[in-house]
């Protein structure tokens, strides 16, 4: 991350062979398992030409799948942003009974297979589920409909934002918020002008990951969607159906959209990551430069220009 080489004692330098070997292993793994598959996806998608590629994507059921996936993401991401900020806030700023339990529970969706997460909702809302009969009696459709897909995706993607913000908030502490309060800032004002800017890059990072997962989720959604073509198929489900029908060119054409999503996500992630984690390093370097500048410009500060004798002894130690 740093372009400044870290000085290391010579005896700790790994030999050239070991270094090349390690780099070689890592690179070939990347090429073999990440780069080549991605290329293969696009190659397969375009095997019958650009016209067939476009046709597979603009086909009505494919368009419905795209629409559904975007709709789900548009609902899930904002909800999880609110939940994530609220949860991280509560955990970072307050001590309360059950805090440790909540930290563990927030992680649960990562620990459980998404298929199981989907099954839980079938158990709850399905026709033979706990409140299924009541839902049917009131003509409310959750399973095999948009609400079910949204709920399943919500659960699976819920940890991303909170997980990213919690350590950030814990390390930042409360001082700035307290300062804003003593200056007369209202709760909302303090939140939007002080707290939110403090966590904005961490939040964006969480949003990017949450969105990628929301659009790409397969297991949980597969269980609750019912695979109704043109109605409850998200992009990943649509890809599977096409593939099972031996229509692999169309399957890969649609899959390439998810591939593009992955690439965009990775790029965004890299940018945001450098902002979040590179901050301390950059700030340090920035300060070094700034201090040098402080030193320079001090000689030109007004009082010194006019030759007025003014005691400003602390300026001489601005490198603190």
């Amino acid at each position: 991350m740093s372009d400044r080489p870290i000085p290391r004692p010579g005896h700790r330098d790994e030999s050239r062979v070991v270094r090349l070997l390690l780099i070689g292993v890592a690179m070939s793994f990347l090429v073999l398992f990440l780069f080549m598959p991605l290329v293969a996806v696009f190659a397969k998608a375009f095997e019958k030409g650009a016209a067939a590629y476009v046709a597979a994507i603009v086909e009505p059921t494919a368009r419905a799948a795209i629409r559904l996936t975007l709709t789900v993401a548009a609902i899930v991401v904002p909800i999880n942003v609110v939940f994530g900020v609220a949860a991280a806030w509560a955990l970072a700023k307050f001590e309360f009974p059950g805090r440790g339990l909540l930290v563990t529970i927030i992680d649960a969706p990562f620990a459980v297979s998404p298929v199981v997460s989907g099954m839980v909702f079938v158990l709850l809302f399905g026709a033979h589920g706990v409140i299924g009969p009541w839902l049917i009696a009131h003509d409310i459709k959750i399973i095999f409909a948009l609400p079910g897909i949204v709920i399943a995706t919500l659960l699976v993607t819920s940890p991303f934002v909170a997980r990213e913000l919690l350590p950030l908030m814990e390390s930042q502490g409360n001082d700035e918020e307290e300062a804003a309060l003593t200056l007369g800032g209202s709760g909302w004002r303090t939140f939007f002008h002080i707290s939110l800017p403090k966590i904005r890059w961490g939040l964006l990072y969480g949003v990017v990951l949450c969105n990628a997962r929301a659009m790409g989720e397969f297991g949980a959604v597969s269980v609750v969607s019912g695979h109704v073509r043109g109605l409850t198929n998200t992009l990943p489900l649509h890809v599977e159906i096409l593939y099972n029908e031996y229509n692999s060119q169309a399957a890969f054409a649609v899959a390439s959209l998810l591939g593009c999503l992955a690439i965009v996500t990775l790029i965004l992630k890299a940018i945001v990551e450098s902002r979040v984690h590179g901050r301390s390093v950059n700030q340090y370097r920035h300060r070094e430069r700034a201090t040098a500048r402080v030193g320079e410009s001090e000689g030109q500060s007004p009082s010194e220009k006019t030759g007025a004798v003014e005691v400003r002894p602390w300026e001489s130690t601005s490198a603190v």
């Binding site: 300062a179 003593t182 200056l183 402080v294 410009s297 602390w314 300026e315 130690t317 603190v320």
Partner: protein, 320 residues
């Protein structure tokens, strides 16, 4: 009365931070809360500010009962040990924050805010770097900006929580003198928390010594030193020898080369030259270790050196 605190108690879990503390600070006075860590001085300051709620007792600011008043309505200026600057705002914006968040009816016009902020920045001598960000400032500059920000809202009282604790010794000393001069100009009722007795004695009109959640003594610096109320104060404000029940300051010894009836024999163990001050460690004939402070001239007259035999007599003793 600037600040009137009556019967404050505060418990954190099983730790009692304050035990029935009462304190009065006259308007326009600068008072230091001095004590070891865990003595309750920061808790007391935060309760006065409203950042912490007391379990019992009342806080009266400028004659008004502020006990149940929200921190943002108390009009206190608070300066934090670790600055708590808004890192995404410039120096100017930081100082302007308290003015910009005022309700519409009280908020000054844009040009007024500008003039006021620039005047404050001039006062703390940061007007020439108003558009810099906190990360571009030195520690001393950051804390002066913290002070300007706190003063912007015309606080009834100014509260500083170990404001110079994170700075190096030289900058700390310079800022301390500067704070005193600033106070002589503005006459804002000020409370400063510190664990540095020299800082407290140098800056404050009155020093309040705290220990284990209680006030041990509140007195002007000179009285505190000349007439300490108890053993804790005696040992906390300045170095002291304890021989049985007798307390003797290191400078309250007379050293001579010949015995004169009232003196006792002692051997010089160690001599440390600190410029004007010379410190000597003696072992008296009864085995008591004595720390003695002399001027450079006195030490030169005695030709003080290690292993030498001298005759020593306390000139002033305190017994509690």
């Amino acid at each position: 009365m600037g600040i009137d605190v009556r019967g404050l108690s505060k418990t954190f879990g099983r730790f009692q931070a304050l035990k029935d503390v009462s304190l009065s600070v006259a308007s326009g006075e600068l008072v230091a809360l001095l004590g070891p860590s865990g003595s309750g001085k920061t808790t007391l300051l935060r309760i006065i500010a409203g950042l912490e709620a007391a379990d019992a007792g009342s806080v009266i600011l400028e004659g008004e009962d502020a006990t149940d008043r929200n921190v943002r309505d108390r009009r206190v200026g608070f300066v934090f040990q670790h600055y708590a600057l808004f890192r995404h705002m410039t120096v100017f914006e930081n100082v302007a924050f308290g003015l910009r968040v005022k309700p519409r009816t009280e908020r000054p016009a844009k040009s007024e805010i500008r003039d006021k902020v620039m005047a404050l920045l001039k006062l703390v001598q940061l007007d020439w770097i108003a558009d810099r960000y906190p990360s571009q400032l030195s520690g001393g500059q950051r804390q002066r900006m913290g002070l300007a920000r706190a003063l912007a809202v015309d606080p009834k009282v100014l509260l500083l929580d170990e404001p110079f604790g994170a700075l190096d010794a030289r900058v700390r000393k310079e800022l301390r003198e500067w704070l005193r001069r600033l106070h002589d100009e503005t006459h804002t009722t000020t409370v400063i928390v510190t664990h540095d007795q020299e800082e407290a004695m140098e800056v404050a009109d009155e020093v309040v010594v705290m220990n284990h959640g209680r006030i041990e003594q509140a007195a002007p610096p000179r009285d505190l030193y000349e007439a300490p109320a108890n053993e804790f104060v005696m040992s906390f404000v300045g170095p002291v020898n304890r021989i049985g029940d007798v307390w003797i300051r290191p400078h309250d010894f007379e050293l001579v080369l010949e015995p004169n009836g009232t003196t006792r024999e002692a051997q010089v163990e160690r001599v440390v030259h600190l410029g004007f001050e010379v410190r000597a460690e003696l072992v008296r004939d009864d085995g008591e270790q004595l720390a003695v402070q002399l001027t450079r001239d006195q030490a030169a007259r005695l030709e003080l050196e290690r292993g030498q035999i001298v005759y020593v007599r306390p000139t002033r003793e305190t017994v509690f």
